[in-house]
């Protein structure tokens, strides 16, 4: 479904992403892990076209080349993403945030909206109803009219997820969806994500530092370090991969020590 080949990005002298290949199947849940600064978020920014990749990179979605297409076009094709720092619209209401996400599916044009045609009002009512249902699904229905800036951090994460879901995506990319949440809330969020994935048959790509999330829910895990892909495979295999352990814990620890450390934790 998503085919990334030879993807690179340089910021001046810094190579943020180097020749990464990534292939995500339809319906797969893919985890992306790696130490801080390993290029995970840059990878997302490249796929969603926030950054322009270096020449020679290719990103294909559903068999079509989408390299360098404008971000709104990528979104329209069915790739939704959340941001690490959420970037929800804090001055707009919770419901409006979702309606913005649903923008591509609004069925009236500028002309009808300008003259305030009756079908615009009917469509608005339909949209609101649909978004209220979705809000109920992520558990924020009671807060619909509240300004998004007044939500707690956990609710904001749910809202960011809801806004991405409002786009009716085929591929959903979550950038550290559970960062900064208490363990209870991590479970809650994870359950919501998995319920959504099942219900809508989503393909998921998740960047996450909380290993429990990655180990329990991902089919395949890709590991990045210094912008390069150093490992890929099922979570169980990744856990024991020598290079992965090295990337996270450094070279100084001997293998035996690492094993002991991992067992203890």
């Amino acid at each position: 479904m998503l085919e990334v080949t030879n993807l690179s990005k340089r910021f001046g002298g810094l190579v943020a992403v180097a020749n990464v290949d990534l292939s995500v199947r339809q319906g797969e849940i893919r985890g992306i892990i790696g130490p801080n600064g390993s290029g995970k978020s840059t990878l997302f920014n490249l796929i969603s076209s926030v950054y322009k990749p270096e020449p020679g990179s290719r990103i294909a979605f559903d068999g079509e080349d989408i390299t360098g297409r404008p971000p709104h076009d990528i979104a329209r094709r069915g790739i939704a993403r959340t941001f690490q720092l959420l970037r929800i619209f804090t001055q707009m209401s919770v419901l409006e945030n979702l309606l913005i996400g649903h923008h591509s599916h609004v069925r009236y044009g500028v002309g009808a909206a300008v003259v305030g045609a009756a079908r615009v009002w009917a469509e608005e009512r339909r949209l609101k109803q649909e978004m209220m249902d979705l809000l109920g699904f992520v558990g924020l229905a009671d807060y619909a009219e509240m300004a998004a800036g007044e939500l707690s951090i956990g609710q904001r994460r749910l809202l960011a997820l809801g806004r991405a879901m409002a786009m009716r995506p085929k591929l959903l990319m979550l950038d550290e969806p559970a960062a900064g949440l208490s363990p209870v809330n991590v479970d809650k969020l994870l359950n919501t994500v998995m319920a959504l994935q099942k219900r809508f048959g989503l393909t998921l790509v998740i960047i996450e530092h909380i290993l429990k999330v990655v180990m329990e829910s991902c089919d395949t895990v890709t590991v990045l370090d210094h912008g390069e892909k150093i490992a890929e495979g099922p979570p169980a295999a990744i856990k024991d991969d020598h290079r992965v352990i090295e990337a996270y814990l450094g070279k100084e620890m001997a293998d035996a020590e690492v094993r002991a450390f991992l067992k203890a934790s």
């Binding site: 941001f83 970037r87 619209f89 500028v110 786009m167």
Partner: protein, 341 residues
Amino acid sequence: MNGPGTNGAAERAPEGWRDLSRFIPWLLGFCVLLVLPWLAVNPYQNYLLNVILINVILAVGLNIVKGFAGQVTVGHIALAAIGAYTSAILSVKFGLPFWLALPAATLVTGLAGALVGIPAFRLEGAYLALATLGLAESVRIFISATDYVGASIGFSDIPPPMLAGKPLGSHIAYYYVVMPVALVGIYLSFCILRSDIGRAFKALREDSLAAAAAGINVRKYKLLAFVISAFYAGCAGSLTAHMSPGFLNPNSYTITEMVTLLLMVVLGGIGHIWGGVIGAVLVTIINDLTVDFYQYRLAIFGMIIVLTVLYMPRGIGGVIDRHFATKRFIALRKAKASVNA
């Protein structure tokens, strides 16, 4: 409960009623505005009423691009100038009647608005303000240096609109041209801003990157905001041109006038439709009352802008909104408390 058939009918009836009922306040407002000029005690007040309404159109337009889409433009006054001069040229040099010159000038200004909007693709905030200021000043200087449009002396003898062979030259007659246009303008801005387009504008203002990631075509909506607001400016400009005594001067389109316009939007409430209207009414009246101190006007207005931004960042409209939101919140609390008790 109801069967599916009755349920559907029951739902449809109030919806149709709701669609109609949203026109009622507008009709009431129209009726009030119909009698308003007869309350004026002298022709000058009638003139002032027309100026207020024209400024309302300008402010509502500026509020779309600045208040809702968050694009800091100082070129709005130049768009009004373009509208005014286009309308004047069309009616004086080409003999077009007012009723054709007005829409033509509005369209031309819309195109000019697209040109003003293009820098906004790359510039933001103060940089965009500087770029649009440059454009605005060059329009004014171009006008004051072009003999074809009367240069700095001014463009005179612009005919008033004709209706059934009679000129609508008096201010009270002209009021009935300006007032419906202003009311329709406010209504249309409501339609635009309460729809998905208005939401897209607000999303641009808050975070254009997140908006793009949600599928909003940032360039298209920025341009749309500029063009729609330019339509308002062009319409207001044309209405100024044909108002008696039918005289235009490039000096009515300086940075001072732009600051006055900004004050209307800032004082009234950035991103608040009625706020913009209230701001336009208030500032025009203040402007008229302080005519004797006109050399200090920029200082006074600048000070009001600074004070508003510091102590009332969302303007008068924001204060009104907050008042009602607090009232609703208290009512909700009380209702909950009574349920618990």
